[in-house]
């Protein structure tokens, strides 16, 4: 892994089009701005990971026959 030290206000380029902007540091949080082309989705890692896990679990779903929807009251 490449490790770079940056100060608030400084930026990192990923290739020519993706800009990671270290905006400010408040307590133990870093605010990061990301500028990327629309074709590059940006995710918080923990959400990306959770969704990836659900997608894999859904793809591994066993039954081919699926149940009916619950009957609605009212």
């Amino acid at each position: 892994m490449l490790i770079i030290t940056r100060r608030p206000g400084e930026k990192i380029m990923l290739g020519d089009e993706i800009v990671v902007h270290v905006m400010e540091i408040v307590g133990n949080s870093v605010r990061v701005g990301i500028q990327a082309p629309r074709s590059v989705p940006v995710y918080r890692e923990e959400i990306w990971n959770a969704v990836r896990e659900e997608n894999q679990a859904a793809a591994g779903s066993a039954p081919t026959e699926l149940p009916d929807a619950p009957s609605r009251e009212g």
Partner: protein
Amino acid sequence: MSTVTVESSRFGSLEIEAGAIIEFPAGLIGLGGRRWAVITKDDNGPFAWLHSLDDPSLALPVTNPWEFFLEYEVVLSDADSERFESADDVAVWVTVRAGTELTDFSANLRAPILVSQGQGFQVINEAAQAPVRAPLFPDAQSEAEAA
């Protein structure tokens, strides 16, 4: 109309109309795959299958979230909402984790799949109430807990 044949490991040979193919420029999150189609089976009730055309062994059960969650809302980031011209012609699906028991069934409300004009995107829903694993049959759950 031209069709594409997929030798699905789950369903056998599937004929998919070219117009039904959904192009996912970024694939599904963590799964990739650019070309998918929604397969509806008569006996699957509210569920359909999002089937990969690139990998015949890859299919995910999906459902219309409003079949189960009347209050469901999708809130998009600015970047995601720019992908769609109008909310009117966007179809919304959520992936389903299916299991052997009804209590094992859940839907991912956090990352719905939005389809519009032949293009699909799995997006992150910014709404406050959008768990990745929302039970689809909560009543079955409470019965199991009561037993």
